[in-house]
């Protein structure tokens, strides 16, 4: 396998390390992310997942251990801009990350910061807005947009710096289902184009979006698997009080009644198909 695009080795992070009550937010994280991965990090509030994300693009520096992004160690300050321009980040509250008063000017903010020449700025802004399907709203003020639209503008702003990695830090948690679907669709499209995506969420069902899932609890990685495999740990997830997606839960229960019923379904469609197949098959017999 090629070199991972993000590599974390023995990463510890303390908030307020010198105070009487330091918070040990990351407790020895080892994690490799391959280029093109869609990694979903799931965990409760306070499990350290946001801290982990901030350690990737140098918003925070590990108190112990090392993080490499595209082979650059985040410990070296001279790598700062190179790392930040390789990692786009979208945060939880759409309103608190939009800087400008016009959509397209906000999208231009990132590339302006790294000194992209004006002609290319125009191209990048149009491209980024096109990807998130917001081109028609480019002249509108952000406060007139829906939350889902704002969050798509935020994604456009993050990808306009042409990063290799896109981190979504609970980017869908404040959106309604429609807005969430819009955002996830845009992210999926980006991932298919080759963008590495790291999505942080406490919605267990969003784990099915990715090709890898990491479950965090109290600053540690407690589970790492493919989205299909991760839900086979139904008991463990319940112990962590994380939801199992409803189709999986139902399949699991049906399997309890009829052991031939497969438990490896994750999507609603798969479950419906399976049930339909069985019902129709039963009728034929």
């Amino acid at each position: 396998m090629s070199d991972p695009i993000v590599r974390m080795e023995g990463v510890h992070f303390h908030y307020n390390p010198d105070s009487d009550f330091p918070i040990h937010a990351l407790q020895g994280i080892d994690l490799d992310v391959q280029a093109g991965d869609y990694l979903v990090i799931v965990g409760h509030n306070g499990s350290g997942k946001s801290t982990l994300a901030k350690n990737i693009n140098l918003l925070l520096q590990p108190t112990a251990g090392d993080v490499w992004v595209k082979g650059l160690n985040t410990r070296r300050r001279e790598n700062l801009l190179a790392i930040r321009s390789s990692v786009g980040m979208v945060f939880q509250v759409p309103d608190n990350q939009i800087v400008a008063t016009i959509v397209e000017e906000d999208v231009a903010f990132g590339p302006e910061n790294i000194g992209v020449p004006r002609d290319e700025l125009r191209l990048r802004v149009d491209w980024a807005l096109e990807v998130v399907d917001m081109l028609e709203h480019r002249h509108r003020p952000p406060h007139r947009l829906s939350a889902g639209q704002k969050q798509r503008v935020a994604i456009a702003g993050a990808i306009a710096i042409k990063p290799d990695i896109l981190i979504l830090d609970e980017a869908t948690s404040l959106l309604d289902p429609k807005g969430r679907e819009e955002v996830l669709r845009a992210v999926r499209a980006l991932n298919e184009e080759g963008m590495t995506v790291i999505a942080i969420t406490h919605f267990m069902h969003e784990a099915t979006e990715g090709n890898r899932v990491v479950v965090m609890e109290e600053g540690k990685i407690v589970l790492e698997a493919s989205p299909r495999a991760v839900f086979d740990h139904v008991e463990e997830l319940r112990a962590l009080q994380l939801d199992v997606p409803q189709p999986k839960e139902l399949a699991y229960r049906l399997n309890g009644r009829d052991p031939t019923f497969p438990t490896d379904v994750v999507m609603v469609e798969e479950l419906v198909d399976e049930v339909e197949r069985r019902v129709k098959g039963g009728r034929r017999q």
Binding site: R84, A100, T101, E105, N113, R118
Partner: protein, 241 residues
């Protein structure tokens, strides 16, 4: 300081309003909030400025004298002229805000300050501060509404307070303002992180997406404005009254 000069200025501002195509009604509407101030100012000037000012080239005449109140031809002229100036100023500012978006004004200010950035004027940063403030105005407005609703739902008497209950009104405002500030700081912190994540390291080395280009109309406006100001200054002594 003369009637003629102010009449000319008033005509010119009205001419500009007509040129801009903004309805006169809007412009007059902009006067309304300033009206009490203009009236109070006029009364004070009329009552207390009596002997302090004599019109250029004229003998001082006293129209009315009662105790320490002197009303002279000087104070009357002062009242009329300063009211006229006020009106001209307000017309021009509301003309600006009626024809130009705040975003455009911010970009304009940035461009105007740019030549001074070599003397250490942080033009880019100032413009960014302006933009972010404008960006936050609707957000804080929404937040204030939320806070007021939250307070009302817990029994705060929001709507029915007479204007004369100063103390209880002030206390109530504090109950809104403090959480609003806390919220604004939290948003600010979030925004800093978001800006850092988008590679913001200060104004230096930034390119800019918006380009304001001087067009013939802009040169014309600057030129006419300059000529007009010089004329008014130069002809000052020709307008004794």
């Amino acid at each position: 300081m003369s009637y003629v000069a102010n009449a000319i200025l008033l005509l010119v501002t009205l001419g500009l309003v007509l040129l801009s195509g903004v309805s006169l009604k809007y412009i007059f509407f902009g006067l309304k909030p300033a009206l009490p101030l203009i009236i109070v100012l006029a009364i004070l000037q009329l009552l207390f400025y009596g002997d302090a000012f004599t019109p250029h080239g004229m003998a001082s005449r006293t129209y009315f004298r009662w105790g320490w109140i002197h009303i002279t031809n000087g104070s009357v002229q002062l009242v009329i002229v300063s009211a006229a100036r006020f009106v001209e100023l307000l017309f021009l500012t509301s003309l600006l805000t009626n024809t130009t978006t705040l975003t455009d004004i911010t970009h304009g200010i940035e461009d105007m300050l740019k030549p001074f950035s070599r003397f250490g004027v942080p033009a880019n940063e100032l413009a960014l501060v302006g933009t972010i403030s404008l960006r936050f105005v609707p957000l804080l407005g929404e937040q204030l509404e939320t806070i007021m609703k939250a307070q009302a739902s817990r029994g705060a008497n929001v709507a029915h307070k007479s204007k004369l209950e100063f103390v209880s009104r002030a206390r109530q405002v504090a109950a809104f303002i403090v959480p609003l500030f806390v919220d604004a700081f939290r948003r600010g912190e979030d925004l800093i992180l978001a800006m850092q994540a988008r590679c913001y390291v200060g104004g230096r080395g930034r390119s800019s997406f918006v380009r304001l280009r001087f067009q013939r109309m802009d040169y014309l406006a600057y030129g006419v404005g300059l000529v007009f100001s010089v004329l008014m200054l130069g002809l000052q002594s020709y307008f004794p009254f």
